[in-house]
Amino acid sequence: MRLSNVLHYRDMRRYTKNPLEVRFEELLPLKLKNKVSGKGDRSKERACVHEMSIMFACFKKNEFDQSRCSNEINLFQVCANKHHIEKFKRKQNIREGNISLGKDNLTPREINYLLKKHPNP
């Protein structure tokens, strides 16, 4: 529809002649959809990759002697642990269908759920 409108020669002419006369046409409904894409859910950066690389660098320097890299190892493990717990929590939330309350960035799943409940008028 949009294409046909744009291609319509007469209209084209009209538009080009006097830009002030351009009339607004509502081609798509002027409201947001009740849905967001779930693609942005997963962050591109994997967890703890940075810590891992630091650790590997240290390993390389010290020929894989763990005792000399205890600090790096510790950091990595703390990170991995934290990530693991977070993952577990997230999974549990999904399983139980929990919705976080009073948080500013919601996951797409939560947004979808809320939008479904309270759609745009």
């Binding site: 997963r42 967890a47 703890c48 590997f56 399983r95 759920y113």
Partner: protein, 231 residues
């Protein structure tokens, strides 16, 4: 009418469509009802519970029966009994336990010989003779930090290093020990082989320790794929 009912049922599904299904499929094998709690059979643990006052919470909670290898004895060690379970074959726990005890005896013999040979009193004191401590040290020395998992990306599989939990790494270490013990020469007994292996591992040496290093090196080589992993 039947058609209508069908629609109705469909409607129900649609209604709940975006709720994930509860886990109905997971088969429950336990004979105890789900609200039964694992027993706390070590006296120290119960004392700890009592000190923190948590014991009040368990007043009305039913506990599962203690299993037949649990005891509050001083000599009982959960890690050791776990290791026995890992190394047993066809449920022959009696034999597995016997073999591990022989291993411990052997460790003690070797260490005692070392101890008696040593003349310097300071060094003498530093020699650990207790086989259980040696065993624990060996296991903790052989625990890997990472593991490799195969992830399919663009039609080919990549070996991706992934961090692992503490439990899993303990399991890996113990499994390597068991496999290493099984790959030994036939002329050597499991106990002898294992004893030397454990002592070596406790000194950051030996086959199992090498295996861990190999894994780490492989992980290091594949670290470029780290961002391929799920989550």
């Amino acid at each position: 009418m039947a058609l209508f009912v069908k629609h109705l049922r469909l409607g129900l599904i649609v209604k709940h469509g975006f709720h994930p299904l509860p886990q109905l499929t997971a088969a429950k094998y336990s004979v105890y009802p789900p609200h039964y709690v694992e027993p706390v059979f070590k006296k120290q643990d119960i004392d700890k519970l009592q000190e923190s006052g948590e014991i009040e919470n368990y007043k009305l909670v039913p506990f599962k029966a203690a299993r037949s290898n649990d005891t509050c004895s001083v000599f009982h060690d959960p890690l050791v009994s776990k290791f026995i379970n890992y190394m047993l074959k066809k449920g022959q726990k009696k034999i597995a336990r016997q073999v591990l005890e022989n291993t411990f005896e052997k460790i003690k013999r070797l260490q005692l010989a070392k101890y008696n040979r040593e003349t310097d009193p300071e060094r003498k004191a530093s020699i650990i003779i207790d086989p259980v401590i040696i065993f624990k040290k060996a296991v903790s020395n052989c625990k890997p930090l990472l593991k490799l998992t195969a992830v399919k990306r663009g039609g080919s599989y990549y070996q991706v290093p992934v961090p692992i939990t503490d439990k899993e790494s303990t399991f890996y270490a113990m499994r390597w020990f068991v496999h290493c013990g099984r790959e030994k020469d036939k002329a050597v007994s499991f106990a002898d082989f294992m004893a030397s292996e454990l002592i070596n591992a406790s000194n950051n040496d030996g086959r199992v320790f090498k295996k861990k290093l190999d894994l780490h090196k492989l992980c290091e080589a594949n670290r470029a794929y780290a961002h391929y992993r799920w989550s």
